[in-house]
């Protein structure tokens, strides 16, 4: 065994939490590198700038999904502070937002947003100067407070990102194919990933819109209302 062990093929073993049950899956170094390249394009589209701090919220059990985004921030020289996406960790997010002019807050969940409100924070004052990227469960509350978040949509082991214009979520079409079937999004890997997926039933309700979007995306995801 060399010093790097199995990392090229088994960089990590993740755990997909799907409606039909849990599914362990390996992630390779190649997968991470490809996902990092995608994350860089996402952050460029969102408008993340070098040298300015950002806040990234995510859970430690999803490291294999989150690391490409962290890795992209590192490559972009964006200092980032981290917190968990649960209510009990909201004071940490609160600390970061009070003490830094965060250019972006990525991964906001309903639990965090609700707890910030419970802490007496004015969401508008706390978040208005940041680009917000929220999970689907947090977006309505943020909009109700006059904010215009991007949405990051979990679809199995990946995220698709929809702009504040709400014109459908884009995903990495060089690696994945997303279809809809009876109102549910299905995920298929197109590239040689460590764990191939074929029409994985993600449990996420939505539909696919075909055709050339304004940015060249052939397929965009629309979540069910």
């Amino acid at each position: 065994m060399n010093a790097l062990g199995n990392l090229a093929h088994h960089w990590a073993i993740g755990l997909l939490r799907l409606p039909g049950g849990y599914q362990p899956y390996p992630v390779s170094l190649r997968d991470i590198e490809r996902d990092t390249a995608w994350a860089l394009t996402v952050f460029e589209r969102i408008g993340i700038e070098r040298g300015k701090p950002a806040h990234l919220i995510g859970t430690g059990c999803d490291n294999e999904i989150l690391w490409p985004y962290e890795n992209a921030l590192i490559r972009m020289n964006v200092p980032f502070g981290v917190a968990e996406p649960v209510a009990i960790d909201a004071p940490r997010t609160d600390m970061f937002l009070r003490r830094f002019a965060m250019q972006a807050v990525i991964g906001l969940t309903a639990e965090i947003v609700d707890e910030l409100v419970a802490l007496g924070r004015d969401l508008g004052a706390l978040l208005a100067h940041s680009t917000l990227v929220a999970l689907p469960d947090a977006a309505p509350t943020l909009r109700a407070h006059g904010l215009a978040p991007w949405t990051m949509v979990p679809i199995g082991p990946i995220y698709a990102f929809e702009s504040a214009a709400r014109d459908g979520a884009r995903y990495d079409q060089s690696e994945w194919l997303i279809e809809d079937d009876d109102g549910q999004l299905l995920l298929t890997s197109l590239a040689p990933r460590a764990c191939p997926f074929v029409r994985l039933r993600t449990g996420m309700a939505g539909r696919i819109e075909l055709g050339q979007a304004g940015d060249g995306s052939a397929r965009v995801v629309h979540l069910a209302a």
């Binding site: 065994m1 062990g5 004071p91």
Partner: protein, 450 residues
Amino acid sequence: MPPGNRRYLEPVEILPRDALLRLQDTRLLAMIAYASERSAFVRKLWSAAGLRPADIQSARDFTQRAPLMDKDQMRAYREEHDDPFCGLLCIDPSDVSFMGSSSGTTGDPTLFSYRWGRDDGNLPAAPGLPQDGPSSYWGGTLRDWWEIGLRPGDYAIYFGLRMRGPMFRLLQELGATPVMLGYGTDDLHQFIDLSRRYRPTLFYAMTAYLGVGLQEIERTMGVDMNDVFASYKGILFAGEPVGPRLRQTFERWGLAGKIFNQTSFGDIGHAHDCREHDGCHAWEDIGVAEIVDPVTGAPIEGDGRGELVVTSLVNPVDPLIRYRGGDIVDMKRGLCGCGRTHARFNPVGRNADEVIVDGRSILPMDVWGAIEDVPETSNGLFQLVRPTRVLDRLTIRVGYAGEPQLASLNRRVADSVEAAIGLRPVIELVPNAAILQSGSRHKIPRTVKQ
């Protein structure tokens, strides 16, 4: 990386004591000069003490003359100067990669900042681990996990939170594949399946919360935990040590001698016990480890009990200089049975967890075993009620399982604690879930204000 049959990851682990202290002196004087020039907090503190870096010529000068610092001072600086880094940052803020933070149990969390060692974060490099530089403040963790037996090609279970940094990268730094799990009940069932499939060698990090869940799975489903844990060389408890009864449970599952304690090396890194289980190694090429009187702050020479004081030697980002974090430890400086020459310590408790009742000091560890000895409270889920440090009476909130007769249980728990410490406590019984919900799932707050 050395051959897998070597016990030590790095030669410095067994450096003769006199050579180790010379290395420490060299690094210390360089760090004092560095931090005094770049850290606004250190400059202010030392200026107030009338001390210049040139006044310090040796480690002895340092421990006798340099001022102590603590978290209250850091927070005061943060508020006074509106500086989220508490005046500690020695590099340009835009050069920081990752900002972790403290648990925040005593106030607004404070930051631990990291700069990546290499540009390409995909490589199995942990933050702050430059290939050609000195050992980083996380380098000690690599040595400790190697000592436990983690080797390239192994799998390791990773139940980790993210607030202190991407610790899973350290597993990868040693060539091991992390198996990512979370704190949901279903994840514990997955842990059992994944342990049988991948046969991991390390579990990071076990907690009372997870231990309670595993016992319940064994009880209700008859899972053979000896088989589940058959491949493990080490189970790491982090955040708080394993309680006496839970330890017995893990030993029954075939893990005798394989239970390790990860504790804080005074906030400049981690310390773990080695396979000799005779104290957690304080890596003295990474930090200076002292003990002082918790009340007066006076240095305590040699071995014994005191408050841990640490100084970063290799952290170029936000070094702590004579930092007292409130950890009470038993320090030992003799050669360890494993052959390592560095100091080691056993954590006894935290200043912030101590209550004084009838002039007597009581720490959570003092009552832990007594509570676990009562069957209905054997999960060891309890909290000292500590509105103030000095109290007229000791009150303990204790979690119970099932639906016991509460008056009888209350009396038996009080009897057990009284037999252990000679003080009769007031016991407040609550269901286990109430205690588990009172903190994050990796760590139960062992004291509460009310």
